[in-house]
């Protein structure tokens, strides 16, 4: 009897041992190994850089439910004068309805009259995304052409959880109406197939993500680093431009989105030392920077005066949004002009990179340009769709931009 017990025990123990081996297989052998990446030279094994905008769908529906469009317009007082003092805002550009901190205007006293932004909430997570933008800039375009490793590091900054990528991939352009389901309802750009239905509204997943994926991928492989860096730079600036406006709009329902709007422009830094998009605009046009700042304070002022969880004073909101949006587009137009002027002095890869930047960020202005000056907008669109700058009259591009975006 004892022998039977022992024999049976041995069999079972052997079986138990075999099963135990199963448990030991939950190990880390199948963890991925870090991939060795050669520090690729920036050798230009060129990939015919034909239209970095990636067949950007035409802006065919800039709808007029945008509060911006009820603007008491003053859209062309400068009259094609390319010599403009970008440190001053012409008096004729300032409307009676504009907000100016502390000024004796039609706006009631509010929290931003001290010319400072006052957070809705103590922390603004958006600032981390602008910090990531600055890291990417340092790696890819501020210190010369980035290596393949630099592109990977930049992509890591871009792809961090809750970082830039997470927001680009969901960004909708609030200048366009929500995607219709054809039955009176709306669809979300986050849902499968919807971005392709309306690439203008679903601008992040439909237009920006393909450019960024392609540029990061090629850059990491050492292909056209200057050009791909310029594509990334322009696309992220496009994202920031739309995000400032989008967050200001959604601040209607979510008060803390006003903070995000402010931080997407300034990086949550003071007016004088703002980073991200603000750094570009301030360098190209201090006046535009001031006007955008006033626009951001206007939005915050409106939300201070309209403190309900869901805002009710939409008239005041629309005034603030209009002031902000016009100044933003003006500021970005100056960034584009600055790059066009740089292109005029560049040849070869540097010129190609400039053109890639101009094509993307310039195209981001076409919807607004079409509303302000359709004829000039058509000229700009014709220019930006050229594969190379060789056949483009760059002076005319500058003139068209000045003509279209006359007032910040």
């Amino acid at each position: 009897m004892k022998m039977n017990v022992l024999r049976s025990s041995k069999r079972l123990l052997a079986l138990l041992g075999a099963v135990a081996l199963l448990g030991l297989t939950a190990c880390g052998e199948d963890d991925p190994e870090p991939t060795p990446v050669a520090n690729n030279s920036t050798a230009n094994n060129s990939t015919a850089n034909n239209n970095p905008v990636n067949n950007n769908p035409v802006n065919n529906n800039p709808v007029n439910n945008n509060p911006v469009n009820n603007n008491p317009v003053n859209n062309n007082p400068v009259n094609n004068n390319p010599v403009i003092d970008e440190t001053m805002v012409p008096a004729e550009c300032i409307l009676e309805t504009d907000y100016s901190p502390g000024a004796d205007d039609m706006w009631p006293a509010c929290i931003t009259d001290d010319n400072a932004y006052h957070n809705v909430e103590p922390n603004i997570s958006t600032s981390a995304r602008i910090a990531a933008f600055e890291e990417i800039a340092t790696l890819l375009w501020r210190n010369g052409a980035g290596s393949g490793e630099d592109f990977l590091s930049a992509r890591e900054s871009y792809a961090v959880a809750e970082g830039l990528d997470s927001r680009v991939s969901r960004r909708e352009d609030e200048h366009y109406p929500p995607v219709s389901d054809g039955q009176g309802g709306t669809l979300s750009c986050r849902d499968e197939g919807v971005p392709a239905m309306d690439p203008d509204r679903c601008v992040g997943p439909a237009q920006m993500i393909p450019i960024l994926n392609d540029a990061f991928q090629k850059g990491a492989q050492g292909m056209d680093p200057e050009i791909n860096a310029a594509r990334i730079e322009a696309t992220l600036l496009w994202f920031l431009l739309l995000s400032v406006h989008k967050e200001a709009v959604t601040c209607t329902n979510t008060k803390k989105d006003c903070d995000s709007s402010y931080a997407y422009y300034t990086g949550d830094q003071p007016r004088e030392t703002a980073i991200g998009l603000a750094g570009y605009v301030a360098a190209a046009s201090p006046a535009a920077h001031d006007r955008i700042w006033d626009g951001i304070l206007a939005v915050r002022c409106w939300r201070d005066l309209d403190g309900a969880d869901v805002a009710t004073d939409l008239e005041q909101r629309d005034l603030a949004l209009e002031q902000l949006d016009q100044a933003l587009h003006y500021g970005v137009s100056r960034v584009v002009i600055e790059r066009v002027e740089a292109l005029m002095g560049h040849t070869g890869v540097a010129a190609e990179a400039d053109w890639a930047f101009i094509q993307i960020l310039g195209s981001a202005l076409l919807r607004e340009a079409g509303e302000l000056n359709a004829a000039e907008a058509a000229k700009l669109e014709a220019a930006f769709t050229q594969d190379t700058p060789a056949g483009v009259d760059l002076d005319e591009v500058v003139m068209s931009l000045y003509a279209t975006f006359g007032c910040p």
Partner: protein
């Protein structure tokens, strides 16, 4: 250590001293004292280990098929037991799901493949999970709900005990709010016979999630005294169809979590696969010695975390998935009666491996964030009880005592893969710190004194020691950890058998939880936001005061408790701004919310009441009802704003305190068949903590109340055949347990069939 806790510690020390003296008087070979008279009646529920033998006899009320063995959880406390027969009737989807009808327990689900039991308002690392007395808790158990009780295959469970209230004297660290202990199926014995085998096959199908699964099991005895039970189980679970969405009470809109398929009912981010295997070998070496060698292996694959699949506001194809969630447990146990000084002695030596492999994928950007965390736990525990010692009549005393020790070693790694380039970058650190270790252990003793044959006084104490070690990580600015804590706790309780049918109980129990490696070292995205570590945390200490009444008569069983639980130095998430994020942790800054664990000054309080009543009616009918209420608040983890005009409250609600909730079950049993109905209900919970408000699992304005009705039927033909059917959620109610990512199943069928030979 607070002054308020000192009396209990002194009481515990006294118990150890007196108990030690008593034990010394009863060494083997010494004259055996006469056994104390049996109690007038046992307290309800039964304290003994109850083993279900489905073929033992024809069930009538269900009680007849229960075989009792003395392996108590804890006497004189608020406990309930879910028996195998309850599991057959209720057909739960998982081990946590089996606890939905227990008073004081509220089961939250972050994913369809996860479940976490809140006991008196606390869960996760603030409760202890056991399997055959082996701790499942390890030092990676995180704040809030976790999925680890789900890693017990409910088909291997004989019964589950729930102990509510602090219980660190016997169960050590983490037993702040309660203990859940699962007991496995045991082999079928055939006394006087030799080889005898029983083959059993089970299958189960549920329509709401298209679950198909089963288990094949072989058990019996190889020779007289040598038994075994072995099985392999598998199930494939699809997307869970709910009764539809619930809406934010605040604004009537659809919550971001979960995301629904086009039908508006089927929840994305659900479904999983599961493989289990187990082998239990039991050798009754002689009348007083039983040896057990056991292996339980649980493997879950491709289980998305519902609230992150996709995350709120993210594109449809983003998903955080637990690619592998494994738990393997190997242990050997000796149960023996070693004489008057060590009756009911048990020694268990165990090894357990918990393995997680996660992947958070953003296909549209070709980005995959991966991570793997493994923890190996070696443990040993010993417990025993003396024989009852008659002191001066009519006083007798019994002493229970034990020691336990566990040690964790941790592997943790994280990586980022660009899937379009097939390039992977390994992070400098994982969610935890690779090479960390955590050890804890303690010695405890409880004296049980019976007076006048109607009053039982219990008094006990424990001394515990914990050590945490973790290397630093310079790139991420992670400091090394080398901490240790020694914590004494105690308890005292009284039980008065006032009449043959009424028992009154009162107890004061301390609980403690030393900070674990998750608190001290982890960085992770949690439901409320990004959480980073605090290496300077101190233990949190609880004191539960409770009074209860138990009625046990021919027709009625009633169990009612009122409790008040305080927690000093409670470890909670305090909001942090992005400037306070640790270095090289970009996701901290970019997260909507950031938190760091801190010891809050002052006391967090939960008080409440709970109970159950069972009416045992004639002709095989019974009705059981439960009711639970908890209310909790604590110090505000947010610092008072500098601007005095801003609203600020000193005390705020605690996170995820369950709403008022309860259940009713009616059942008829006879001739092997059963038929019944059940109802679960909960009211709106709109008392939300700061973390709850930023937690997408909780709808804006709170979680709506619900009522869910089930119908149940089944038939068992001896041990040969069993069929069970549940029509769940017959009104197709859209509902969600507070704090869950997943809405409950919509109307559907659960069908189970079992055949044995």
């Amino acid at each position: 250590m607070s002054l308020t806790h000192r009396p209990l510690i002194l009481a515990g020390a006294l118990a150890i001293f007196v108990g030690g003296y008593a034990a010394a008087q009863e060494i083997p070979g010494a004259p055996v004292t006469q056994e104390a008279p049996a109690p007038v009646k046992p307290t309800a529920p039964p304290e003994g280990d109850v083993r279900y033998d489905p073929g033992a006899s024809e069930p009538e009320t269900g009680e007849d098929v229960l075989v009792t063995e003395d392996r108590p959880m804890e006497k004189g406390r608020a406990t309930t037991r879910v028996r195998r027969e309850d599991l057959e009737v209720r057909q739960p989807r998982s081990a946590p799901d089996a606890l939905r009808y227990e008073p004081g327990v509220y089961v939250q689900q972050t994913a369809h493949a996860q479940g976490s039991a809140f006991i008196r308002g606390r869960t996760g690392q603030q409760t202890v999970l056991l399997f055959d007395e082996v701790r499942l808790n390890n030092s990676l158990f995180r704040q809030g709900p976790n999925q680890y009780f789900f890693t017990i295959d409910s088909r291997t469970i004989d019964h589950i005990d729930v102990l509510r209230g602090s219980a660190s004297t016997r169960y050590g660290s983490d037993a702040l709010a309660g203990v859940v202990g699962a007991a496995p199926l045991e082999p079928t014995w055939a006394p006087g016979e030799g080889l005898k085998l029983n083959a059993r096959a089970m299958t189960r199908h549920a329509t709401a999630d298209q679950e198909w699964g089963g288990r094949v099991q072989l058990d019996g005895q190889l020779a007289e005294g040598l038994g075994f039970i072995a099985g392999i189980g598998y199930r494939d679970v699809g997307l869970l169809e709910s009764g539809g969405p619930i809406y934010n009470p605040e604004n009537g809109k659809l919550p971001e979590v979960p995301r629904f398929d086009e039908d508006g009912r089927t929840q994305l981010g659900t479904g999983f696969r599961e493989l289990t295997d187990d082998l239990r070998l039991v050798w009754k070496a002689d009348r007083d010695v039983e040896l057990t060698l056991a292996w339980y292996d649980y493997r879950q694959f491709d289980a998305p975390r519902t609230d992150q699949c996709p995350p709120a506001y993210a594109p449809f194809n983003e998903c955080l998935e637990y690619e592998e969630q494994f738990r393997s447990l190997l242990y050997g146990a000796i149960d023996a009666d070693l004489g008057p000084a060590a009756e009911e002695a048990r020694v268990v030596v165990s090894w357990q491996k918990q393995h997680e492999r996660r992947a958070q994928e953003r296909p549209s950007s070709f980005v995959l964030n991966g991570g793997r965390d493994d923890v190996d736990t070696f443990g040993v525990l010993m417990r025993a009880a003396t024989a009852p010692l008659r002191l001066e009549a009519p006083v007798s005393m019994r002493l229970r005592y034990g020691i336990d020790a566990y040690r964790d070693t941790v592997e943790s790694v994280a990586w980022l893969t660009f899937t379009d380039l097939d390039i992977t970058r390994v992070r400098s650190r994982g969610q935890y710190l690779d090479g960390s270790s955590y050890a804890w252990g303690g010695a405890w003793s409880e004296a049980e004194v019976t007076l006048l044959n109607e009053v039982v006084v219990r008094i006990g104490g424990r001394i515990s020691h914990m050590e945490a070690k973790a290397p630093g990580d310079d790139p991420s600015g992670t400091l090394p950890v080398d901490r240790s804590w020694t914590t004494p706790v105690g308890n005292v309780g009284i039980e008065w058998w006032t009449t043959p049918w009424l028992t009154l109980l009162a107890s004061a129990d301390q609980g403690f939880r030393a900070p674990n490696l998750d608190d001290l070292t982890s960085r992770q995205q949690t439901g409320p936001g990004f959480q980073f570590e605090n290496a300077a945390l101190e233990p949190e200490e609880a004191l539960t005061l409770e009074v209860g009444a138990q009625v046990a008569s021919t027709w009625v069983e009633l169990d009612a408790w009122v409790y008040h639980s305080t927690l000093e130095g409670s470890i909670a998430r305090a909001p942090r701004n992005s400037q306070e994020c640790p270095p090289d942790t970009r996701q901290c800054g970019s997260s909507w919310s950031r938190f760091q664990l801190v010891n809050l000054p002052g006391e967090a309080v939960i008080w409440g009441a709970e109970g159950s009543v069972k009416l045992k009616l004639p002709a095989g009918f019974s009705v059981r009802s439960t009711l639970s209420y908890a209310w909790g608040d604590g110090p505000n983890p947010q610092e008072r704003p500098a601007d005095p005009t801003l609203a600020y409250e000193e005390r705020v609600p605690l996170s995820r305190i369950p709403p008022l909730n309860g259940s009713v079950e009616a059942l008829w049993r006879g001739y092997g068949a059963w038929f019944g109905a059940a109802m679960r209900w909960a009211t709106l919970q709109d008392r939300l903590a700061l973390g709850d408000i930023s937690d997408e699992r909780i709808p804006r304005g709170g979680t709506p109340g619900f009522q869910v009705y089930d119908l149940r039927a089944g038939y068992r033909w001896d041990r040969h055949l069993m069929g069970a059917l549940v029509v769940e959620n017959i009104t197709d109610e859209a509902y969600r347990y507070h704090g869950s990512s997943v809405n409950g199943p919509g109307r559907g069928l659960v069908f189970s069939l079992e055949a044995a030979y």
